[in-house]
Amino acid sequence: MAQISADEVRHLADLARIDLSDAELEHLAPQLSVILDSVASISEVASDDVPPTSHPLPLTNVFREDVVTPSLTPEEALSGAPDAQEQRFAVPRILGDEQ
């Protein structure tokens, strides 16, 4: 039985930029535990010699040739942006740090 603590949910919520109240954290922690348990039941049938599947299709090496295709116009590119200036996306002040 997996036990997810409220603190762990808080950490995940921070990483996902989701603002959760303490009550929500307490509410979600046991639910996430149940989900993890359900998923963990897969390991009962998949033994160590079965690698985890990341892709359902048995394909490799699907490539695109290095040939230019048309881009959007700047107007199209910015059309969905909440804010734009100088043909650039305007985003709120960044509190973190440059990657």
Binding site: N61, F63, T69, S71, L72, E86
Partner: protein
């Protein structure tokens, strides 16, 4: 931001107490025509957000498709670094929230890099060879470019940021070394030589322009100190985006001195990223690694694995350029350069430039003369790497051809380089526009010679008396009069015709 000047320990004292361990992460932006996962073009300097599409903007429903040439370039880089090539590997999502990546993740590789376990033998300035072990080289994509708008102009205190996604999605290869230990006092020099030689290799492979001033090649410098004679590795710092060879060397040296000061004062090093400040030559604290590094990597579900068949890898192996060490020996012999001459060329970062200049028709000595002294001085003055100077090998060959044809002399050639650097066109156009051609026309020269003789009667008399070597003074006077643009050999003939 509050960039405090840290206490530093004198460099020799650092080495008395500590052994440095060095690690380098170099990002190479590939020179493919299109991005890593979409067909948007990659040209430098385009208008903002003109090279973007739903895929590189991370719009819903868009799907990535891997650029074949980028994968080939990655494999060729790996092979040139003596790496193993993965028989099977996947892309992974590196999740983080930062507006330079509109998808909120960077498509990268995690525990399955396409290239791993290689090495590069790095030649230091005195000829000593150090083997740098390569841990991995993996494929990923570049980020967009943010401009921070606000009172400070820096990211802290910015009111908002403007983002251009033209660069987002351009293929990157990240090349990571294993910790380099045992370099001792030469650690800064090893770091510099590694980056310089790696750049040379990248250019020789033809996979990137590798211009550091344009960010085609960017180095992150990891450094830690351990008490001298112990096996342990100390806590490291990662100094990001150090963008010239000289800065790489300085950043390593600075961090060694700073770490030693913190440790000597009984403190401990915080594992963090640091920013390099080119102007002041110091690093300042960026973000702590511990809380930021939870990237929740998982295999990219939208891309199938890359499994390069052995035949493909062998075929790419056949396209590798000559081994750099062998190439240096061969060229030194072909060009008739002495060992010190060759070393100067290599240390100036001029090897490929000289090679291309020779290929464009100049003699090896002429190519060495221009790149190895005149242009290296100008690059230093401008604070850029020689290869990033806005003069091409073809132009240098053309300048030399103008010298060889007697159109200009070496002195005027320097003014031609002024014009080339100022973007005034081809060498011939600069000569034309600036009126730099040597005057060998007897009419103009004759008048200048006559006035030089009139102005220096004593010298003229000496020559009449048979002291031909005194002609130098008159030639000098004519050259001065003609602002260096006279054909000196012809002036000499005219002087002697009149006085002997």
């Amino acid at each position: 931001m509050g960039a405090m000047t840290a206490e530093l320990v004198a460099y020799d004292d650092v080495l008395a107490d500590f052994d440095p361990a060095l690690g380098l992460e170099v990002h190479v932006e590939l020179g493919t025509a299109t991005k890593m996962f979409c067909g948007c073009p990659t040209g430098f300097g385009a208008e903002p957000n003109t090279q973007v599409c739903p895929t590189c903007l991370g719009l819903p429903g868009s799907m990535p498709a891997v650029n074949r040439v980028a994968v080939e370039s990655a494999i060729r880089i790996g092979l040139a670094l003596n790496c193993q090539i993965a028989e099977w590997c996947r892309f992974a999502r590196k999740n983080y929230f930062y507006p330079d990546m509109p998808k909120n993740f960077q498509t990268s590789q995690y525990d399955e890099p396409i290239c791993f376990e290689g090495f590069m033998d790095v030649t230091l300035t005195d000829g000593e060879v150090v083997r740098v072990e390569i841990e991995r080289a993996h494929m990923e994509e570049d980020t967009g470019k943010s401009t921070h708008v606000g009172t400070s102009g820096r990211i802290h205190g910015a009111d908002y940021s403007l983002v251009d996604y033209n660069r987002a999605g351009i293929p990157l290869i990240e090349i990571v070394t294993k910790p380099i230990r045992g370099a001792g006092a030469r650690a800064p020099e090893v770091a510099r030589a590694y980056v310089a030689q790696l750049r040379e290799l990248i250019v020789a492979l033809g996979v990137s322009e590798a211009r550091m001033d344009r960010g085609n090649l960017r180095a992150d410098v990891n450094l830690s100190l351990a008490p001298r004679g112990t096996d342990a590795l100390g806590t490291r710092t990662e100094t990001k985006n150090v963008n010239s060879y000289r800065s790489v060397e300085r950043a390593v040296r600075y961090e060694m001195q700073r770490h030693a000061a913190v440790l000597a004062a009984g403190g401990s090093i915080t594992q963090e990223t640091r920013h390099w400040h080119e102007d002041t030559g110091i690093t300042t604290s960026g973000r702590a690694k511990s809380d930021a590094e939870d990237y929740r990597y998982f295999p990219e579900p939208d891309l199938v694995p890359v499994a390069p068949p052995a035949e493909w890898v062998d075929e790419l192996r056949g396209t590798l350029p000559e081994n750099p060490t062998a190439k240096r020996s061969r060229l030194a012999e072909e060009w008739g350069f002495s060992e010190p001459e060759m070393r100067d060329v290599v240390n100036a970062g001029a090897l490929l430039l000289v090679e291309e200049t020779v290929a464009a028709g100049a003699s090896p000595q002429a190519a060495r003369k221009w790149w190895g002294s005149e242009l290296v001085r100008r690059a230093n003055d401008a604070g850029v790497e020689l290869a990033d100077l806005d003069v091409t090998p073809a132009q240098v060959a053309e300048v030399q051809a103008l010298v060889d044809a007697g159109t200009i002399n070496d002195k005027l050639a320097r003014q031609v380089f002024d014009g080339l650097l100022a973007g005034e066109g081809t060498p011939a156009e600069v000569v034309e526009r600036r009126g730099l051609a040597v005057v060998s026309d007897d009419g103009a020269l004759g008048a200048a010679v006559d006035s030089a003789i009139a102005a220096n009667p004593d010298v003229a008399q000496k020559i009449r008396d048979g002291k031909v070597q005194a002609a130098g003074a008159l030639i000098g006077a004519v050259m001065k009069e003609m602002r260096g643009q006279a054909d000196a050999a012809r002036v000499r003939e005219l002087v002697l015709e009149r006085l002997t």
